[in-house]
């Protein structure tokens, strides 16, 4: 995962200091692109242990369209727990556990009236388009709905992704607006690599390149020491 190390180094080399929403100092830079050829192996960080099962369970939970944190926690994964307690959900007049229109909803019911599932099922359309119109340049799933962005604690970080079919090979590019390079990025990379495998599998294609494009990518200052040993 040399690409991941290069990304960390790029922040240290080009980044500037900021104070963010969470009140913690950060070093950030804007605009980065890297790529992983999935034919050469599954991209998962090897210089620290990444819990693959959490990534898989979270992705399955997204794909099911579910936005209730309790169902993910029931699978032993509590990475969304802090957003799902009563203090957080009450602000949006929702029951504890109900995260609102986050990824699962945006992917499977974009533009709908949450919690009604009356929006567009982007994942179903994507798979059907890949199968019937593989040369399309519109194989896109977006998580950015301006009307929902202020109705959740965490509007989508991995904001939009696009597939491309070259013969039998499926490529994917993700645009991520904000990336926590130390804690989040290793998860994001493996999550989308897994998504590519799933989509390729159901469409009878082979996996190709994953292009990972970032907006604001940051290192949170107190964990900076983690890098030298990474």
């Amino acid at each position: 995962m040399k690409q991941y190390h290069d990304l960390l180094k790029s922040i240290l080399a080009n980044g500037t200091e900021h104070h963010d929403r969470t009140g913690v100092g950060t070093i950030s830079h804007f605009g980065y692109q890297t790529r992983f050829d999935l034919r050469e192996g599954f991209p998962i960080v090897t210089t620290k242990k990444i819990p693959f099962r959490w990534i898989a369970e979270e992705l399955f939970w997204f794909l099911s369209g579910d936005t209730n944190e309790a169902n993910l926690r029931a699978r032993g994964v509590d990475i969304w727990a802090e957003w799902a307690d009563e203090e957080h959900t009450r602000r949006f007049r929702r029951e504890p556990g109900d995260l609102g229109p986050v990824y699962g909803y945006l992917w499977r019911s974009f533009g709908g009236d949450y919690p009604r599932r009356n929006g567009v099922d982007q994942i179903a359309s994507l798979i059907s388009e890949i199968k019937t119109n593989p040369n399309s340049r519109r194989l896109i799933v977006t998580g950015w709905d301006p009307r929902q962005a202020d109705k959740v604690d965490l509007p989508p970080c991995h904001t939009l992704f696009q597939f491309k079919v070259d013969g039998r090979v499926l490529h994917c590019q993700l645009y991520q607006r904000s990336a926590d390079a130390f804690l989040g990025v290793p998860f994001n990379i493996s999550s989308y690599a897994l998504l590519m495998h799933l989509i390729a599998h159901v469409c009878g294609l082979e996996v190709g390149e994953f292009v990972y494009t970032l907006g604001d990518y940051v290192l949170i200052c107190h964990i900076q020491n983690g890098i030298s040993s990474n």
Partner: protein, 264 residues
């Protein structure tokens, strides 16, 4: 604009041949980006002549929230004509999504005003985004957005912008896309009392049409000139108040125009 010359040779060398919607055929690569430091000059291609007029009017038209070609035609700009219906309407294309994204409860979200407000109020925000990819309305658009999402970033008193484009016609379209967003970045920076920083363009399906290959090879034989400068002659009240006459491109040195057919 060495970045642009490099992209042309990248596609000629690495591009895969594909058939496409238009039947012309392309050579394409997937997932590329180019970065331009706007403090070093305005990124207008110099290895052929580009006319900025249609780009300025098109951007002003987007910012007016308009989706009918009338305004463009009144100013002699015909780039959208072939897509319009008999009344000149295009459906809810860019202008509508930028300035009045419709919600099911009857509201309209002005993403441009919001993003400028947010840049001023919370410059460290990581949510400075405008999206034109309104999934529920794609079917009613005459042409679905190519440049479909952009994000701003503030650092050291400079405003940077990154734009995501799902499909890029590198010979004909891309130079205009770059100039258009560079212009937008200058305007938003001026409105927010910031200096322009970097503009980065991210392209997904990045292609040269087969009938543009000779032109691209000709262009590669030419050496780029230093970039021109953009001058904005006044500071209008809001982002909606700019006029064509406010912009001046200074010292644009360029090679001759290269004609090429548009794939429709």
């Amino acid at each position: 604009m060495k970045q642009y010359q490099d992209l042309l040779s990248d596609i000629i060398q690495n591009g895969l041949q594909k058939s496409d919607r238009t039947g012309v055929g392309t050579r394409s690569v997937f997932g590329r980006c180019m970065r331009f430091d706007l403090s070093k000059g305005f990124p207008l291609v110099t290895t052929k002549k580009l006319h900025l007029k249609s780009i300025i009017y098109e951007l002003l038209w987007f910012l007016r929230g308009e989706t009918n070609i009338r305004y463009l035609n009144e100013h002699g700009v015909r780039i959208w004509n072939e897509w319009a219906d008999e009344n000149g309407d295009l459906g809810p294309v860019y202008g509508r999504q930028w300035r009045a994204w419709q919600t099911s409860d009857g509201r309209a979200i002005d993403q441009i005003s919001n993003v400028i407000e947010n840049i001023k109020r919370d410059p460290d925000s990581r949510r400075l985004i405008v999206s034109a990819w309104n999934v529920g309305e794609l079917e009613s658009m005459a042409l679905q957005p190519c440049h479909l999402l952009f994000q701003f970033y503030v650092g050291e008193n400079k405003l940077s912008c990154q734009m995501y484009q799902r499909s890029a016609d590198v010979f004909l379209g891309l130079p205009f896309n770059v100039a258009s967003y560079a212009l937008l970045t200058h305007m938003v920076a001026q409105q927010c009392d910031l200096d322009p920083g970097d503009f980065q363009i991210v392209t997904a399906d990045t292609h040269l049409y087969e009938n543009h290959l000779d032109q691209a090879r000709l262009q590669l034989t030419r050496d780029p000139y230093p970039l021109p400068r953009l001058k904005i002659n006044r500071k209008p009240e809001t982002i909606s108040d700019y006029a064509f006459e406010d912009f001046e491109v200074i010292n644009y040195q360029h090679h001759p125009h290269i004609p090429a057919a548009v794939a429709v």
